[in-house]
């Protein structure tokens, strides 16, 4: 089916007002839908919802809320002032409905563990204590035997349990450190608060942080000491900061792109009103696109959040081509309708080819599980098609309207000479040599491109002040453990046992540091230990008369720890159980697994995930672990797997569409050559600038393929239209228009570069390199090849 562009133009010409009104109505409707789009800033949202790790993480968030507390770090020159402020803040926050618990320090925990120290000893050590008491009693009895010979100088003292006390004492915990969690630098204290809401509830998280900040301001830290500083740490703070960054980036990238493109097209056309014919239909198409996005996807993720800027830069190209051709036709003396017919029939046809090629290339990304590809591909593909429709129908309608209202004047008496002067491409051989050299250099260094495994480099720069005090390791460990949800104690114990078995089997190569459930805080072998403790009590009571005064004092100190009972979860202090509690404060049965390796390195995260994400316990059940790091690891693996497929598939789709359009394999090869060369050059630039490939900038490669092909398609179409010997004309007309469109697209992507989120920054940077390379190769290499082919043909 061939599209009759001429009939379309005639229809538009006679119904321009109606078309504008319908388009406007559609835009208003779509805009209201698009305004309901949610922003999902969590990296987990880049994986499919049916992934086990994602499903488990969602269950964890639903049940547990946030993993780990929100930590309020109070630093200053006077530790006592920090502690006073901590207590004042804790007093104010403890009745907050947004918090289920406020934990000042570890006093309760230390005292509890101290009181129950005999129950928390290893059974073997408790048996050792029992044996020592037996030995002491026996020794005292033996001393009464006339056959006993003691050692005067080296007599052993069985009641000396200082070695065991040293083993179980919390080393170095004295002074403030015994009661409070100090920063790693020792210059501050940490207050831990547990929110009642879930971490994914952005409104709750923002309200929570706002309320706490308000409370802090009310208490006024400087009243305690002028040097006091209060900062936040933990997953709630990170989620909020990440969301803020994404929203901020969304606004800034859109604004930069809008203003930059507007400025560029105003300069290019030297018309104040000209941007309106292009920008208004484009804004309408964006409204339709994001309305459809709401219907189909429902949200934007941390990658697609930048698409307003990108689509603005991308869609404006169609408008520039349309208006440039229309202006050219009008300057040649054609009336409005004839100029529009020429514009839409010629340029519109080429635009359709490039738009369909690009859209299909992006739609091909839908196959990917990685939403960074699939949702990106869907929105860009839809956006391009809507932009095409808007520029072929709505933009001409606006042109007819402003022409009728005589708001612009485009007709000139004489046609500019450069628009009709033909000529050959001047330096085809030199161009080819330089192109080959640049491509060879890039390909030679291709394998030297590193991959960014450091997750820290891929986290948003929240632009917050670096806190003076950092979180100590013991609290860091509890900040981002992998979680395994279990339903009861039996299951939790099975998981813990299986993970310990895996740890033992792997030995030093295991990436697991520790595994625990809330039941891990209960002493093991309690019946056996309680029997020993009861026996100790009896032995000490029965043999008290054997002991001298010093021994009795020591026995009495031991006796104070003998008055214990079997501990249950209800006996445990909140300090211990809180990290295993639901957002409502109910103690939950789940397992935390902490890594022994820094998970910021993706290779470690992958190894850790491989070790624990699927746990086949001895009870026959399979359990799944999840965490932000496991999600990152899976995303990394998925992206590495999908990226190559995405690049190959988009290239394949582009080639097929080109073959349908051009109906000639050699022509397809000619048009693809600048694109493939440009892709090689991008890797060369990345090598030169020491950029690493990462999970975000790799998204840019299919993007470059989809967008970069347009330049060559336009040059080739115009060359075929203008005929042999027209390359100079092609470059002066289409080439200049391509410069404008490339610049406008680049302006769109340039809007991403100042973004704080690395996803946007890296997509922006690499796309800029790609777009620039595609333009240069399309206006140099392709004409050079066409020129050489002309020479060979003649």
């Amino acid at each position: 089916m061939r599209i009759s562009y001429e009939r379309i133009v005639h229809y538009v010409y006679h119904h321009h007002v109606g078309i504008i009104l319908v388009a406007l109505a559609m835009s208003v409707l779509s805009g209201s839908l698009a305004s309901q789009l949610r922003i999902k800033a969590d990296p987990a949202d880049l994986l499919p919802d049916d992934y086990i790790s994602v499903r488990e993480l969602n269950r964890i968030k639903e049940r547990v809320g946030g993993i780990g507390p929100l930590m309020i770090v109070i630093t200053g020159d006077e530790l006592t002032a920090s502690i006073q402020f901590l207590n004042a803040l804790a007093d104010s926050l403890k009745h907050s409905p947004l918090l289920s618990s406020v934990i000042r320090g570890r006093t309760e925990e230390v005292e509890f563990l101290s009181d129950n120290r005999l129950l928390y000893m290893d059974l073997a050590d408790l048996q050792d204590v029992q044996q020592r008491v037996y030995d002491k009693v026996e020794l005292e009895k033996l001393k009464r035997s006339p056959l006993y010979i003691g050692f005067d100088d080296e007599e052993e003292d069985p009641l000396d349990v200082s070695d065991l006390e040293a083993k179980y004492s919390q080393a170095g915990l004295t002074g403030f450190e015994r009661d409070y969690y100090l920063t790693a630098e020792g210059n501050g204290v940490i207050l831990r608060v547990y929110p009642t809401g879930v971490i994914t509830d952005v409104k709750f998280t923002r309200r929570l942080l706002g309320d706490i900040r308000g409370t802090i301001d009310d208490i006024r830290p400087t009243r305690f000491h002028p040097s006091l500083e209060v900062t936040f740490s933990g997953s709630f703070k990170n989620a909020s900061a990440q969301y803020n960054v994404v929203v901020k980036d969304l606004q800034s990238t859109a604004l930069y792109a809008f203003l930059g493109v507007l400025l560029l097209i105003s300069l290019y056309f030297r018309q104040i009103l000209s941007p309106l014919f292009i920008v208004l239909p484009l804004l309408m198409s964006l409204s339709w696109t994001f309305g459809l996005t709401w219907i189909v996807i429902g949200n934007l993720n941390q990658i697609t959040v930048c698409l307003f800027a990108i689509l603005f830069g991308l869609g404006i190209d169609f408008g520039i081509h349309i208006f440039a051709r229309y202006r050219e036709a009008r300057r040649r003396g054609l009336n409005t309708e004839a100029a529009l017919v020429e514009t839409v029939c010629h340029t519109g046809s080429a635009l359709s080819t490039t738009a369909v090629t690009t859209a299909v290339a992006f739609f091909s990304l839908l196959f990917s599980d990685f939403k960074g590809f699939s949702e990106f591909g869907f929105i860009v593909g839809a956006g391009i098609m809507f932009s095409l429709v808007a520029m072929l129908i709505v933009c001409p309608a606006f042109i007819v309207l402003v022409e009728r209202l005589r708001l612009i004047k485009l007709q000139q008496k004489s046609v500019p000479q450069h628009l009709v002067r033909r000529g050959r491409y001047p330096v085809p051989h030199l161009t080819l040599i330089l192109g080959v050299l640049a491509t060879g250099y890039s390909l030679y260094h291709l394998d030297k491109l590193g991959f960014e495994y450091d997750f820290k480099q891929l986290k948003p720069d929240t632009q917050e002040e670096t806190p003076r005090g950092s979180i100590p390791d013991e609290l860091k460990e509890t900040r981002s453990p992998a979680i395994v949800l279990t339903e009861n104690r039996q299951q939790a114990m099975e998981v813990v046992a299986e993970v310990r078995r895996v740890m033992a089997a792997r030995g030093d190569s295991s990436t697991i540091r520790s595994v625990k459930s809330v039941y891990s805080f209960l002493p093991d072998a309690q019946p056996e230990k309680l029997a020993i403790i009861a026996d100790l009590q009896q032995v000490l009571d029965e043999n008290e008369d054997l002991l001298d005064e010093d021994d009795r004092i020591r026995a009495d100190s031991l006796r104070t720890f003998l008055n214990v009972h079997e501990l249950t979860l209800e006996d445990l202090p909140e300090d211990l159980t809180k990290s295993f509690s639901s957002k409502e404060g109910k103690i939950l049965s789940f397992v935390q697994i902490n890594a022994a390796v820094p998970l910021r390195d993706g290779r470690n995260a992958i190894a850790f995930a491989d070790e624990i994400k699927k746990i086949e316990a001895a009870d026959g059940n399979t359990y799944y672990a999840s965490s932000a790091h496991i999600i990152f690891a899976e995303m990394l693996e998925l992206m590495l797997d999908d990226a190559v497929k995405a690049v190959v598939l988009t290239l394949l789709v582009v080639s097929i569409v080109l073959l349908i359009d051009l109906r000639n394999v050699l022509s397809v090869i000619l048009v693809l050559t600048p694109l493939l060369t440009a892709l090689a050059w991008v890797t060369g630039f990345m090598y030169i600038f020491d950029f690493k490939v990462n999970i975000y900038n790799i998204v840019a490669f299919p993007t470059i393929i989809g967008m970069g092909i347009d330049n060559a398609v336009h040059v080739f179409h115009r060359y075929r239209e203008s005929g042999i010997g027209s390359l100079r004309l092609v470059l002066r007309t289409t080439g200049v228009a391509l410069l404008a469109t490339t610049l406008t697209t680049m302006v769109g992507f340039a809007g991403l570069v100042p973004a704080h989120h690395p996803a946007l920054y890296w997509i922006g940077i690499v796309s800029l390199l790609g777009l620039g390379s595609c333009f240069v190769s399309a206006v140099t290499l392709l004409p050079a090849l066409l020129q050489l082919r002309e020479g060979r043909g003649s």
Partner: protein, 210 residues
């Protein structure tokens, strides 16, 4: 508890003294270990209670010392206390060890025997003789309204000879087992030579004090 220890000492003293003052053949006539112990009790009391004061003459002290030698088998006590270490010693080394051990016991406990010889009063409540000919005699000693159990381990070193005590278990704590535990730990940490050296020093100290 001290009282209990003292009673044991008294018993030993009594047995020793009695043995020293009567004909050794009297002991041989006792067919059972309990009878042996009771016979010795009588003889010991006769010496120890001879004077109303706690002190003994040099002659009486010598008699007590000889009775200790007669009633106790220090060689067996040393053998069992040293365990494997005993097996590795030469005859001369064994004799030296027994001599030192005996010397310490005689001197270390003699004053206690003398000082408290008037206390005590033991009732033998039972005896068991194993197939190997070794016997355990149980005795009850009144201490602070309670009765403590003392188990005497006896044997006849040679058939036809009198019974001899080689171990005392006071309130469940056996001297041989206690010695063996303490000495084996000491030897493992130091050496047998160091143990013997320590005992020699102890003996020398006691002799010096005596």
């Amino acid at each position: 508890m001290k009282t209990l220890g003292v009673l044991c000492c008294l018993l030993l003293t009594a047995a020793s003294v009695h043995g020293a003052t009567e004909d050794a053949q009297v002991a041989l006539k006792q067919p059972t270990p309990t009878a042996f112990l009771e016979a010795h009790d009588g003889r010991v009391r006769a010496i120890v209670l001879r004077d109303s004061t706690d002190s003994l003459t040099a002659d009486e002290r010598e008699q007590v010392r000889l009775l200790i030698n007669e009633a106790f088998d220090f060689r067996e006590l040393s053998r069992q206390s040293l365990g494997d270490t005993w097996d590795a010693r030469t005859d001369a080394e064994r004799e030296e060890f027994v001599s030192v051990y005996r010397g310490i016991i005689e001197r270390q406990n003699l004053d206690m025997f003398v000082r408290y010889h008037r206390d005590g009063g033991i009732a033998y409540t039972g005896e068991q003789i194993g197939e190997d000919g070794r016997a355990v005699v149980l005795g009850e000693v009144p201490v602070k309204k309670e009765k403590k159990i003392i188990a005497y381990s006896l044997h006849r070193p040679d058939p036809g000879k009198q019974w001899q005590i080689y171990d005392l278990t006071v309130d469940g704590a056996g001297t041989v087992a206690g010695n063996r535990r303490a000495w084996s730990r000491y030897i493992a940490r130091n050496s047998y030579e160091k143990l013997l050296e320590g005992l020699r020093k102890k003996l020398a100290k006691l002799e010096g004090a005596g």
